[in-house]
Subunit: 352 residues, 2 copies
Amino acid sequence: MELEQLIQSIPDLDKNASEAARSRQNELTKPPGSLGKLESLSIQLAGITACPTPRLDQKVVIVMAGDHGVTIEKISAYPSVVTAQMVLNILNGGAAINVLSRHVGAKVVVVDMGVAADLSNHPDLILKKIGLGTNNIAQGAAMSLAQATQAILAGVEVAWAAIENGAQILGTGEMGIGNTTPSAAIMAALGAAPVEICVGRGTGVNDEGLARKREIVARALQVNQPNPQDGLDVLMKLGGFEIAGLVGVIFGGAAKRVPVVIDGFITTAAAMIAVTMQPRLRDFIIASHRSQEQGHQKMLEWLGLEPVLDLNMRLGEGSGAVLAMSILDSACKILNEMATFSEAGVANKDGV
Amino acid sequence: MELEQLIQSIPDLDKNASEAARSRQNELTKPPGSLGKLESLSIQLAGITACPTPRLDQKVVIVMAGDHGVTIEKISAYPSVVTAQMVLNILNGGAAINVLSRHVGAKVVVVDMGVAADLSNHPDLILKKIGLGTNNIAQGAAMSLAQATQAILAGVEVAWAAIENGAQILGTGEMGIGNTTPSAAIMAALGAAPVEICVGRGTGVNDEGLARKREIVARALQVNQPNPQDGLDVLMKLGGFEIAGLVGVIFGGAAKRVPVVIDGFITTAAAMIAVTMQPRLRDFIIASHRSQEQGHQKMLEWLGLEPVLDLNMRLGEGSGAVLAMSILDSACKILNEMATFSEAGVANKDGV
């Protein structure tokens, strides 16, 4: 599989399936349009899956982990060791993403894309390690072009393995101390907003930390001079290994007509990279929620996506994605399970 | 059970349980506050249930049905016979509320509070019929004071039977062609907004129907002169039997420290009546979603409630309530199932 071939393989939405879903919505026993976003989402999901009555019974959230050389600049409220510790917490089922995934019936797949620790002895962890954390983006490129490509293709492999095992929808999640910094840099590089807007508090830096984080992002842009027309260039210079892997997950899902649900600030940065590389991907991505992380709303506007939920969350891990996957599932069940006016013997509108 | 006794029986939130939930949230393996509304809702639910780790495994949505004499004024896009037809559709499992309830694992309880048809031969329907529809509120009171009281107490009975059977959270739903008209009248009578704002398109009346609906609501207020300080007076003059029953469900839940989730325009009108009768009830009510029905946002502001979801829905039946119940359940599971920093061996914030 070559990257260029993958990029070209992304299909269009299936308009026939969308139209069939739209007309079925109008025959169901409810005032037309009264289920709001559940209706529009079901129509989009029909177009993505090329099926007028899509099913999302099998849900998988792919949590990709990686470390970031830029943490040496003290841009996070938590120490770098927490990445590996939280990966183990997720593998042990104790993190928020585990609780919420069990709640919605989603399987959690955890991938080591580049954690700065040896995690090779855990049987449930998928190992796609590209390196022991990225380089410090304040001093140069995060990774080589070969590493960026390798990480994307690893993400595609993970997505395809999940789909092979039955996944009908993919959620994206991440764990990587410091990763709001590369995400803010990507957002700024792709022109979604000025640096001051792009950089927020992440897991909760204080005012001093926030000022430093802004300075570091500005420096990363200055040092690396990423080309905003070239998603791969932006990724390689500013990204993280987990962000690159998530770009691959988005490509992998869309290539197989499986909807991909993005989560918060980091996974949306991955979506911005992916859509820069292939604008057709936008139609296959569903924005799960509006993160409290400053700047996320501007990312969604840049992508032209409306989030399903707005719960003031800013945790990451895929926590918003799995909650939204349940809403998407309900939207599909409406199409599959509701009675029509004629089936139920219910009188339709009398035109007042 | 006397109504006055019921009103006085509503407790306060349990502050100790809320505080215990709040401190547990800060020990869980996530940045403090990063789960946003999931955290604040879990704290509220702890206070409602007087339990620091509440559980919402058993969910019930109570769908109350009734007809409205005011439909003779042609204020609805659907004919009155649809109320009974949709009750049967719900009993047969084909309506939106059935699909969404199955999705979230909620039981649907359907109550005939005052449908203008004989539905007595259906084994799953709870019969609390107060009358064959209300009187036309454009010409006088919807019901007698005795009927209003009887309907509220019937609602309490239904709620308590559900709680007796294990319900840990109650959703409110309704079915009643024409019932956005009494709801708008209640909203206007209680001073949430002027009539033009209170009256929206309901299931979808055209411009002419909307103008007529506004005129009818203004006339109902003029003819009945409800006392905005007296919830029972407003209910009896402008309400519906299903709205009165839902007032009872709210009282019944709160009296037993069971959270009550309101749905859209009609159930929120019931909440406004209930809170007028007993302001402490406000703390026990959770607003599930912001309805697309014009005026609903002003109702929520009047109540001082923030909705969990905003999905552009305006279907009623309890459809928004059950979707939100699933989010509330996830909020409780976070408290119950997530690991703490010390349990997971994860380093806490280092103060940057």
